[in-house]
Assembly symmetry: C2
Homo-oligomer: 201 residues x 2
DNA sequence: AGAATAAGATACGCGCCGTATCTTATCCGC
DNA sequence: GCGGATAAGATACGGCGCGTATCTTATTCT
């Protein structure tokens, strides 16, 4: 008979099975259908093993999502401001789409306020930093005016995209993303950086 | 002995007791702590009575909130664009504040998508229509340029305020509201309506 | 080797779900 | 007023997931 019959998983192997099971349950049953019991069954483990790691359903889901869905990074800035912004926003939008609005809403509702903020912030700080860098580059290149752009302005598109997706439940179309960019964001950047002629073109 | 001992409530009286109990539970235990059983107990009625009226917890809470939190109205447009927008935003913000982010997040997570959208749209005085009217007035008065402002631009502050409150969990301060207005919205309106000099005051 | 650690199995009481059944107070039309 | 329709209210049900406690046993570290 096989001597290694009752092989017992640990650490990464186990953790990975848990995350996988969680994501599968998430996909099949939606956020509210994710259950400690269900995940334990599916990952062929037991509830205590889960409870030893995660204090709540929300944390479990969050961990699984983070493990499999790293934050989007902007791979190669071309130096062309509009193109870079567009690809950044698209990456964001794709991430939202993969996750689904239901998951994020569920997390938002069930995570403690503090934790939800951290999490959102982690996502948006990265973006904030990226945006800041892109804009700084464009200013240095003379594509924008010389003045510093206020943070509130810098973060506008994050808020707009999130709102569209989370509140209204639609994944922004390419056209919408471009609209935000051309009608709102780029004009604001030009204006606040003090670029030459904000009018025609 | 009193002949009207087992007085049995109906219609408004009953409904009102249900709403009151729901709001009380909401306040004490938060959205996720609201329970059909708990509300029934507190309203001194029974679960079937509740289930005959509301199909889900979210609908129960929604009804209670709507019953006790009617829409604020924008009292008097002064014709002064900035002042009117400011008071509109403040009213909006005050409403969110009374409700609390947790409740809205819970509703968003548990209501079906369609219903959530209706509710968000209907529940807000800071509507597209209101903004459109104010801006149209300002344009007619020559306070802005003559051109029509695109919808995406018109709705910007709705998204920004909601994002701030719901995602980040903070009630926007007066200063933040003014920032949105002065750094983002008014400039955009001037720009898109084709107002004369968008630069230094 | 032995000790420490953590996986895994099982079982518990609890609270809430959503529904079915039944009684009985109240309302409405005649 | 009376009598039938209506809906409140009480109760009970099986089911499920929660969160925890207890115990055994495989694995790893020293």
């Amino acid at each position: 008979m096989p001597p290694t019959a009752p092989s017992r998983r640990r650490n990464e192997e186990l953790l990975s099975a848990i995350h996988e099971a969680t994501l599968a349950e998430l996909a099949e049953r939606g956020f509210s259908g994710v259950t400690f019991e269900g995940v334990a069954r599916r990952a062929r483990t037991s509830k205590p093993v889960l409870y030893r790691r995660y204090p709540s359903r929300a944390e479990l889901v969050l961990a699984a999502v983070h493990a499999r869905e790293p934050l989007p990074v902007l791979d190669a800035p071309t130096g062309e401001l509009r193109a870079d912004l567009l690809s950044l926003f698209s990456a964001h939008e794709a991430r939202y789409h993969r996750l689904g609005a239901g998951v994020i809403r569920g997390l938002l509702a069930e995570l403690p306020q503090e934790r939800a903020n951290e999490t959102l912030a982690a996502g948006s700080i990265l973006t904030h930093t990226t945006l800041r860098a892109l804009v700084a580059q464009a200013r240095a290149d003379g594509k924008l005016g010389p003045r510093e752009v206020p943070d509130a302005v810098l973060d506008t598109p994050i808020a707009l995209l999130r709102h569209e997706f989370l509140m209204l439940g639609r994944v922004p179309s390419r056209a919408q993303v471009e609209e935000i960019l051309d009608l709102i964001y780029l004009p604001l950047l030009r204006l606040h950086s003090g670029a030459a002629a904000p009018s025609g073109r």
